[in-house]
């Protein structure tokens, strides 16, 4: 774990830069995290991020299929919002853990 200053706040992140305390997240922090990986957040991005945080709080595992079925954006659209790795990037910005396997 390391401390990192984002939007003027000290937050804890893991080795890969994912926030370890989801409750420390704020919209300003999200904007700062997005900027670091070259993404400018639009309204569509925010809708996805809010959906992810809500799902996370309900204990639902993050998957392309779930986001695709959310009615917010289809999977192709998600790839254009978060190019290269939509789940790992959207999770990073949403301040929730990266989708992972058991190893």
């Amino acid at each position: 774990m390391v401390q990192k200053t984002l939007a003027g706040k000290n937050v804890e992140v893991n080795d890969e830069g994912y926030m370890t305390t989801p409750s420390e997240w704020s919209r300003d922090i999200a904007t700062a995290l997005a900027t670091e990986i070259g993404i400018t957040l639009t309204d569509k991005h925010w809708e996805v991020l809010e959906y992810l945080r809500k799902s996370f709080n309900e204990g639902v595992a993050l998957s392309l299929r779930k986001v695709g079925n959310s009615g917010i954006v289809d999977i192709k659209g998600l790839y254009s919002l978060f190019p290269g790795g939509p789940l790992k990037k959207s999770a990073l910005i949403a301040g929730i853990p990266k989708p992972a396997s058991c190893v």
């Binding site: 893991n14 290269g84 190893v103």
Partner: protein, 410 residues
């Protein structure tokens, strides 16, 4: 007489039938288990079939051999569950009432979820998650002379999440033995951000892919397969060519779950991750691959769940509060090729770490390190499965709740 009904006589259902047969008062309760197929498959063994290490006879037995006397076995398909009225309907049209229901209908591959897969199915595209697929792949590998061999995960969750990695490692060993490794490009394609995604495992095991020369394609969300041009195509239009595609298609719960209105978008039943009670109906419990809980879909998980679910069902019948004791414990051997394997032991909160198992320091099993002893463990697991796990005979020293002993937890 009250009725307890178990749907599915695979790993989890069979374990529950054996546990409950010993524990329930037979003057008060009858136990019925229902499955549509007569054959019981040792699914972990499917991994070895394409390489000729196991034959079909190693992995198939009759379900009748494992269901105890005193439990009624109905060999029919379950069509729907009407949980509001505590009844199930069979495909043959009969309706059965229940007082307590256990859903253990597992998960299976569904190739139809990916456009184009069916066109190359069992021609250049194979699975090893079914006996049929593993046998067809064995036949295909006999005529393999080299080219691009792609091992691919469509989406998660899948049964035994490490099986595709194990397949890749075994394929590497097999190709070397056949003198075909130089002529074969081995490529691992995953929707995740890496082959290993947990911090300790990534650091400890990343070398395996490099050492074996397995190429890695990550963050790959497959949109369709072009079976004619032999390409996987992703949502962001990246293409991966193959000569042989070994894919893990989307895994889903049985469609009966969907038709009963009990499933999520992959037909998994909403289940309390600590008590294994269904979230919608108190007298319905769910175990094994059929649940939506964030534990691995593995036989070892079903075994640990079965011990805790048995206790919880007895508490439920006495009207007492359930114990939130299931901690997501999984214990899995990972074949790493060349006669070696790894062992991981983890739960919801503790990722796979270094250490020894089951005892501190003396082990004898090493966690997260390759060893021949772990490989022997993996091979002995078949015997343990048929003779102990299914019959609900406890395995000495291995507890349902994960032990922290011997583990290097940060």
């Amino acid at each position: 007489m009250k009725k307890l009904v178990i749907l599915g006589a695979g790993s989890a259902g069979t374990m529950m039938a054996n546990h409950l047969n010993k524990k329930l008062d037979k003057a008060e309760w009858s136990i019925t288990i229902i499955d549509e197929y007569e054959s019981h498959y040792y699914q972990p063994g499917f991994l070895f079939i394409p390489f000729g290490i196991y034959k079909a006879k190693d992995v198939v037995r009759s379900k009748h051999d494992f269901i105890p006397k005193g439990v009624e076995f109905i060999l029919k398909r379950v069509k729907t569950i009407a949980a509001e009225s505590n009844t199930i309907t069979l495909a043959s049209g009969e309706t059965l009432p229940y007082d307590l229901l256990i859903i253990a209908t597992g998960a299976k591959i569904n190739p139809a979820e990916t456009a184009g897969l069916d066109e190359g199915w069992y021609k250049d595209i194979f699975d090893f998650y079914t006996l049929e697929g593993a046998k067809a792949l064995y036949e295909r590998l006999k005529t393999w002379t080299g080219g691009k061999m792609v091992v691919h995960i469509t989406e998660l969750p899948i049964k035994c999440p490490v099986a595709p990695l194990e397949f890749s490692f075994l394929a590497d060993s097999w190709l070397r033995k056949k003198g075909l490794r130089d002529k074969t490009e081995l490529i691992y394609v995953t929707p995740l951000s890496g082959a290993f995604t947990k911090p300790t495992s990534s650091k400890a095991l990343g070398y395996l892919l490099e050492e074996k020369g397995i190429k890695l394609v990550t963050d790959f969300g497959v949109m369709q397969v072009d079976a004619e041009k032999k390409k996987l195509i992703s949502y962001d239009e990246i293409e991966v060519d193959y000569d042989l595609l070994v894919t893990i298609p989307t895994n889903m719960g049985d469609r009966m779950i969907e038709e009963s209105g009990l499933g999520d978008d992959l037909n998994y039943v909403a289940t309390d991750k600590n008590t294994l009670q269904s979230k919608a109906y108190p007298n319905v419990f769910v175990i094994g691959d059929a649940t939506n809980i964030p534990a691995s879909k593995a036989g070892s998980v079903a075994h640990f769940e079965a011990e805790i679910l048995t206790e919880n069902i007895l508490l439920f019948l006495e009207g007492k509060p359930l114990k939130p004791d299931f901690d997501g414990h999984a214990n899995c051997f990972i074949e790493s090729g060349n006669g070696k394997a790894l062992l991981i032991d983890f739960n919801y909160d503790v990722e796979p770490v270094f250490g020894t198992f089951p005892f501190p320091i003396i082990g004898p099993m090493q966690l997260l390190r390759e060893s021949r002893l772990n490989h022997i463990g993996k091979m002995v697991f078949k015997w343990i499965y048929w003779n102990m796990l299914l019959r609900a005979i406890p395995i000495p020293l291995i507890t349902a709740k994960m032990s922290r002993m011997g583990k290097k937890i940060k």
